[in-house]
């Protein structure tokens, strides 16, 4: 892998003094920051040679002074072995010796399910078309089937980790991303529940909420079920309030939300339920609670006899052993009836239906590769970033005007003026854009 080879010759090793930027950085044009997490930062960059877009995930050194982040190691080692259309592709690993950080370079995906769902909910106010929902779900299951047959559990499936490719030859193809919590479950040396709580609570399977120890790939299918419902209704199916603080606390509210929709679980339907610690202890008296009959079909507005509902309910089966596997789900009738799922999930199938232009990821152009925010953002970069992000929304004369202003370089006055102007124009456009702009303006004024 890139830097990894050939280092014995001494080329890689000599790189990167404290003040020098590593040589590998020169192969990219940095566009800006596109994300942030506990592990570190995500950047958008273009390769200078092919001009292809790359997402670069920077992992900070682990905080406890214990070397390279185990999360990064987990993600790298799994992705080095995995290769599938519906799994994100790790194209390179780079090292910045200056701060002992690792940079993972991935093929860039413009969209993700979180943003697609949000766009429909907040901007378009209409549901996602059936073909798109089915294609997204099929590809997600296809990728998951590959992972599971390679004995990998993802453990953190949620809409923001399900990526969808933008323009290009892979347009509309789903990529499962973020393997920082993934585990090989072939022969765990320790019970899987040992390394802390996993899976964002809304998508967490009931056996995990009840503190099952030896959970299986079925936890991923539960999450897919939740995501399926969210694609249909545009809102999270089980939106419990997370109890924070102590390690692995009992998430009563989340269970309550699930029970309200799916009914109370019974040892009758789920025999191993009685062995799960939180059910056994019954500290919150969850065993005695009364819930109305299951009403999942009302929540997702599906006829109880439809194939879509049948598939959903089988992925949200309480007993993990009865829950569908990814392979079984792919064989389900739902995927055999019209509209059939396709490779490009974002195209329209109905004549006359409008193509939806999902917004591109916002790019924060004021952060550099090391993750430090620059004090003097280059104005043309700011404008180009904004324009690139929203060029479809901006009226043409405005577009031109900004390019002109932007191109005059960092003349302080021009800069401030143009940012103010930009702000005024944008106020008439989209709220979100204004927020973005205010941030830019704020940064700029601080620096001047």
């Amino acid at each position: 892998m890139g830097d990894g080879r050939g280092i014995a010759g001494g080329t890689g090793g000599a790189a990167g003094g404290v003040s020098n930027r590593p040589v590998w950085m020169q192969q990219y044009d940095l566009m800006g920051k596109i994300g942030e997490g506990t592990y570190g930062l995500v950047f958008l960059a273009k390769t200078k040679k092919q001009k292809s877009c790359i997402a670069i995930k920077k992992f900070k050194q682990s905080k406890d002074g214990d070397g390279v982040s185990p999360t990064a190691i987990r993600e790298i080692m799994l992705l080095r072995e995995l290769s599938h259309d519906n799994v994100v592709k790790l194209v390179n690993v780079h090292i910045n010796h200056a701060d002992m950080s690792l940079y993972l370079a991935f093929d860039y995906a413009e969209h993700d399910l979180y943003e697609i769902i949000r766009h429909h909910r907040e901007k378009l106010n209409h549901s996602i078309n059936q073909y798109t929902v089915k294609s997204l779900l099929w590809q997600l299951l296809n990728g998951l089937n590959y992972l599971h047959s390679n004995w990998v559990i993802h453990r953190d499936l949620k809409p923001s980790n399900i990526l969808v490719m933008g323009d290009g030859d892979e347009q509309g193809v789903v990529k499962i991303g973020d393997f920082g919590l993934a585990r090989i479950y072939q022969a765990p040396l320790k019970p899987l529940s040992d390394n802390g709580v996993v899976v964002t609570i809304w998508y967490r399977a009931p056996e995990l909420l009840l503190r099952g120890k030896h959970y299986t790939s079925a936890v991923d299918i539960w999450a897919v079920g939740c995501i399926f419902a969210e694609l249909l209704t545009l809102k999270p199916l089980f939106q419990g309030v997370e109890v924070k603080g102590t390690s692995n606390p009992f998430q009563f509210d989340q269970l309550d939300k699930i029970f309200k929709v799916l009914g109370h679980p019974t040892p009758d339907k789920w025999p191993t339920l009685v062995h799960l610690p939180h059910w056994q202890n019954d500290q919150q008296h969850i065993q005695g609670l009364k819930y109305d009959n299951p009403c999942l079909h009302n929540y997702v507005h599906l006829p109880p006899k439809s194939p879509a509902y049948d598939l959903l309910s089988k992925m949200l089966e309480y007993d993990p052993r009865k829950r569908l596997t990814a392979a079984q789900a792919l064989e389900h009738e739902y995927f055999r009836i019209d509209p059939l799922p396709g490779r490009n999930a974002l195209v329209t199938t109905q004549p006359g239906e409008k193509i939806i232009n999902y917004p591109a990821r916002p790019v924060d152009t004021s952060t550099d590769f090391e993750g430090t925010t620059s004090i003097h953002p280059q104005p043309e970069m700011l404008f180009l970033g904004v324009l690139q992000h929203h060029q479809l929304c901006l009226p043409e004369q405005v577009h031109v005007q900004f390019l002109w202003l932007g191109c005059r370089g960092c003349h302080k006055q021009t800069c401030q003026l143009s940012i103010l102007l930009l702000k005024l124009v944008l106020e008439d456009l989209i709220q979100e854009l204004c927020l973005f702009n205010v941030v830019l303006q704020h940064k700029h004024i601080n620096s001047s």
Binding site: G16, I73, W151
Partner: protein, 332 residues
């Protein structure tokens, strides 16, 4: 990852004897050259994980020539010595058996790119154990590991990046231990499951595990897939324990095998592994004393001068230094 067939282990790290020879000669040659040009071979790994080359020593050329570089055979002996140490350290920490297997494979792969004269194998061995623990989800802090064997843990952290990088970040490796389990399971079906046979199969499994531990110290893990290492170990153990008809068993698995490998090819591989195991010589303390002195003088000639003086003063002290080197790692 269950699928060895699509793994980086299979595609990139099963090599030919010729590959091994070339890579090792290249690394040895580079270190020799450095000794000639600069007077020492040690590469410093800084706190940030970057590597720096030594400044040339000011000594006269003639003096430098008095320092002899290790040859390839001596490097080999040193590696075997420290690979065995990996097994001891992991045993002392009571790590799951897989940890030492993974660490040894990392160590072997690392020294396909570097000479022991460039990176001291004691440091690399501990870093490989540390990395193996991280990858196999058996996390031990560098501090704990260092403390257990009375070594500076910062050295482990300093070397972590260069080890990961030299491994090309191919971190999932297949040790033969699981394959043994798999074959034993399969043999249970092969020999109609009578209780007496069951017990004997368990004995066979234990014996084969020891055989694999020995094979891990040879070049075999860089030349053969883990399944063949496991089979060779089972065959060796079966020759003594005589649990099953091994020839018939091999016929059966080759006829069921998808990848069209025929029985004679498989037997050829197993014989080659046996040969490597038979040839394995684990260096004695005496062998090591000589090589270790040479290594120290290559890594840092100035310390050698001092140690020579010390040696003259008290002979038992230098003996102590050697036994320290051997025993330090197994305490804890």
């Amino acid at each position: 990852m269950a699928d060895f067939r699509t793994s980086t282990h299979r595609s990139k790290w099963i090599l030919t004897p010729r590959d091994l020879l070339e890579k090792r000669e290249a690394a040895n040659w580079r270190a020799r050259k450095m000794l000639e040009d600069l007077g020492l071979t040690r590469l410093d790994v800084d706190i940030d994980g970057s590597i720096s080359y030594p400044e040339p020593l000011q000594d006269s050329k003639a003096e430098r020539h008095s320092i002899k570089a290790l040859n390839c055979e001596e490097e080999q002996l040193l590696r075997v010595f420290y690979e065995q140490k990996i097994q001891e350290v992991c045993g002392a920490f009571k790590f799951p058996h897989k940890i030492q297997g993974t660490a040894i494979i990392y160590f072997k792969r690392f020294y396909l790119q570097w000479s022991v004269m460039e990176h001291h194998p004691k440091h690399i061995m501990l870093t490989c154990v540390y990395a193996s623990c991280k990858v196999e989800e058996n996390h031990v802090s560098a501090e704990e590991l260092g403390k257990g064997i009375q070594q500076d843990h910062q050295m482990i952290l300093n070397n972590e990046m260069v080890v990961l990088q030299s491994l090309g970040f191919d971190l999932i490796v297949y040790a033969p231990y699981r394959s043994i389990e798999g074959f034993i399971d399969d043999m249970e079906g092969f020999t109609e499951a009578r209780d007496s046979v069951q017990t004997k199969l368990k004995e066979l499994q234990v014996a084969a595990k020891f055989e694999v531990d020995r094979a891990m110290l040879t070049d075999a893990p860089l030349l053969f897939p883990p399944g063949q290492l496991a089979l060779a170990a089972l065959r060796r153990s079966n020759e003594i324990l005589k649990v099953i008809n091994f020839e018939r068993y091999l016929e059966r698995i080759t006829s069921a095998e998808r990848n069209s490998q025929n029985a004679s090819q498989l037997v050829e591989s197993l014989n080659a592994i046996d040969l490597l195991v038979d040839k394995l010589s684990i260096p004695t303390a005496k062998d090591m004393r000589h090589i270790d002195r040479k290594l120290r003088s290559c890594l840092d000639p100035s310390s050698q001068e001092e140690s020579k003086k010390r040696e003259k003063k008290s002979k038992h002290k230098s003996k102590r230094a050697l036994s320290e080197m051997q025993e330090d790692h197994i305490e804890g």
